[in-house]
Subunit: 232 residues, 2 copies
């Protein structure tokens, strides 16, 4: 927990094809952290679409961001287009270098990996991309939220809510995080126990894998290509 | 479960001052329901701000909505401004009349109440507004998701994710809902057990109540005023 009088700059990266709840889940938490400025940054402030069509707009362009204390990197199918994008990767790398906390959600971890931030670090990502972590030099951990120094990685999609509460507690203490949790009534009761590959019915897992087969193949190819360039 | 060949029209209501995750939590589920068109409707298609500043844009204006099979009504502090808004309430009432399912999240239940949709129905809402349900003729139920015929009400904020999965299962069966749950890796692990008034530390509950005291007072006054006009 930090000096509560220290003002924090918190920023999320927004991009076309994001999985919106990778951003909006943590938004609910990050936007309530006391004594902090929270803004969403994107290449520019034109509206973008999430992978299912939700229209979201950034608060400011990347270049307008101050040095961030917390850098939040969401994922989604659109992550793939950023994996070799020098502007995005340079921004992520530069912001991460000075941040107290780099917080990835879902395949946002792959963006961090492409920026070289996962080398030798314990990390997690969406179950469907977990096998790709080693290409970026990460030590893959099968957990919902993984902390390794300044790096906090959350697993797939909705794990970002759990990860953001963990980040809030690191920054402002348990009670501040609990206050946010109570406000957002986060006492989940999923109607089914099917949220992980080992708990979902096998037929459901097979369908989920099949639906993501194309993007997984592309991500694998990209991860291998990037691995060849990273100094691991 | 319906005929899987029956195409569904699903719509969410967006408004200024919404609590964004009341919409974006269910979005993650509703946008993945098979054989359905899912769109977000608002007074117009100008960007709005959620209560913490997130910029969201509707897909279409209210008047452009077809008859909806599923009407999703989110909440948030901005709900208060809609409670006596004839355009919104007429739209909600008209859409609800023909819908297979009316699904409220958080204080979206109060909007439904103001539209007369809660009379004699079992319902829930955010813990901080739960005591207001009776003003709308509802039978208050202390549960995360409450089903009463075509009406599905979810409790506060993040309960919308649980509620939306329940709605998905009603419409397309358990396996379709489980596939969505697995895709969004919804196997929550909150780092604290503080998501309900009875589980949060007393000091945290007191702070949460104090932070919402103003809006709660306004909501109470409005609910009483509306109660006098509803034919209960």
């Amino acid at each position: 927990m930090l000096d509560p009088d220290r003002h924090l700059e918190i920023g999320s990266l927004l991009f076309e094809g994001i999985d919106q709840i990778d951003l909006t889940g943590p938004f609910e938490v990050l936007s309530r952290i006391p004594n902090a400025t929270y803004r969403i940054y994107a290449r520019d402030t034109a509206p973008v679409r999430d992978l299912r069509g939700l229209r979201l707009t950034a608060d400011a362009a990347l270049a307008e961001a101050p040095p961030l204390d917390v850098l939040h990197v969401p994922g989604g199918y659109g992550q793939e287009a950023l994996m070799e994008d020098a502007v995005i990767l340079d921004w992520v790398r530069r912001q991460a270098a000075g941040a107290l906390c780099v917080f990835s959600v879902c395949t946002g971890a792959l963006i961090c990996g492409a920026a070289g931030l996962l080398k030798g670090r314990r990390a997690t990502t969406h179950w469907n991309s977990h096998h790709l972590l080693h290409h970026f030099g990460a030590i893959p951990v099968d957990a919902r939220v993984v902390e390794d120094g300044a790096l906090v990685t959350a697993a797939g999609v909705t794990a970002g809510i759990d990860g953001a509460l963990t980040v809030a507690a690191r920054l402002r203490g348990d009670e501040a995080a609990q206050l946010i949790q109570l406000t957002m009534a986060y006492a989940p009761e999923p109607p089914f126990d099917a949220g992980t590959p080992d708990r979902a019915p096998p037929a459901v897992l097979e369908r989920a894998r099949a639906a993501a087969a194309d993007i997984t193949a592309r991500r694998t190819e990209t991860a291998r290509r990037i691995q060849g360039r990273l100094d691991l």
